[in-house]
């Protein structure tokens, strides 16, 4: 390939570090000018990625204006709170178990008491 064919490919090649050798790479290996230009593009992309960690100082009062316009946080309903909190889920399951257990015991006791009341008085006295 010629320089004129390789140069349009360089902006895209600049952020691909591992690629199989092809005609463009063969040209780059023997052409100092195109190789240096590829290096420029790589330096540019490196500097651009470094911008991510640098910040522009916002105008004065920006944070205060931002906070003043935020909506008030809403306390989610009980069900959503339980769904979002693992500890609350365990507590709800334990409480549910206690309630079901108590209901079962109550039912057994009620059935037993009712059976006793259904007996004739003489039998009840014998019991």
């Amino acid at each position: 390939m010629k320089c004129e064919e390789v140069r349009p490919l360089l902006p895209e090649m600049a952020d691909v570090w591992l690629r199989s050798a092809g005609p463009a790479e063969e040209h780059l290996a023997g052409c100092a000018m195109c190789s240096a230009e590829l290096g420029r593009y790589r330096a540019l992309i490196h500097e651009l990625s470094a911008l991510r960690d640098s910040v522009d100082e916002p105008p004065e009062g920006f944070l205060a204006r931002l906070l003043a316009q935020l909506p008030e946080p809403e306390r989610p309903g009980l069900l959503r709170r339980v769904g979002a909190d693992e500890r609350l889920q365990y507590a709800a399951l334990s409480l549910g178990g206690v309630v079901v257990g108590a209901a079962a015991i109550g039912l057994l006791w009620w059935r037993s008491a009712r059976k006793t009341l259904d007996q004739p008085p003489a039998t009840r006295a014998a019991i």
């Binding site: 000018m33 420029r40 991510r52 522009d56 920006f62 931002l66 306390r75 989610p76 709170r81």
Partner: protein, 182 residues
């Protein structure tokens, strides 16, 4: 750094938790917004809109991606909505993605390493259609697919814009003859 505990506190509606998120991130959010819209007042509006979107969307954020990546996308989305509203995206609609590339003149190789201030000025000088693709890909690391989703264009169109933006920025920084070419 936004922790999972802080996000959980936000979801529970703990007073002060969301404010803590804002205090931790507002400089980055403002900077990204400014890099995308290129105007300080508009960047404030975009940041405000982005935080409202974060506030509403937090209950659905389950941490599959990093919070910061999610935030980048929300700011990008708010910025694009803002630009569309202001009809400044007209140039994007008329940009011909199918136009063939011409052969660029070689970059001047006698320049020193990239100067940070020149880089910022170079970015500000790019048309918004090219700048948005470049900033989201090369600065914030979004994939071409993600950028396409945010800009409402195909992945291929994102690659075309990215290619042109890099060429144009390199030309403005390293003094190529065709710096005015898009």
């Amino acid at each position: 750094m936004i922790t999972a505990e802080l996000l959980a506190a936000c979801r529970r509606g703990d007073p002060g938790a969301f404010e803590e998120v804002v205090r931790t991130t507002y400089r980055h959010v403002y900077t990204q917004a400014y890099r995308l819209v290129g105007d300080r007042q508009e960047a404030e509006d975009v940041a405000q809109d982005a935080y409202l979107r974060v506030f509403r969307g937090l209950s659905g954020f389950r941490g599959e991606a990093r919070f910061e990546t999610w935030l980048y996308r929300i700011v990008a989305n708010a910025a694009m909505s803002h630009l569309r509203r202001r009809r400044r995206f007209g140039e994007v609609l008329t940009l011909n993605e199918d136009e063939p590339f011409d052969v660029p003149a070689p970059l001047r190789l006698d320049e020193e390493a990239v100067d940070r201030d020149e880089l910022r000025r170079g970015l500000e000088g790019l048309p918004v259609s090219l700048r948005s693709a470049l900033v989201l890909k090369d600065v914030y690391g979004l994939s071409c697919q993600e950028i396409g989703d945010e800009l409402g264009i195909s992945e291929g169109a994102v690659k075309v814009r990215l290619h042109r933006a890099r060429r144009r920025l390199a030309a403005s920084l390293f003094g190529r003859e065709d710096a005015g070419e898009v």
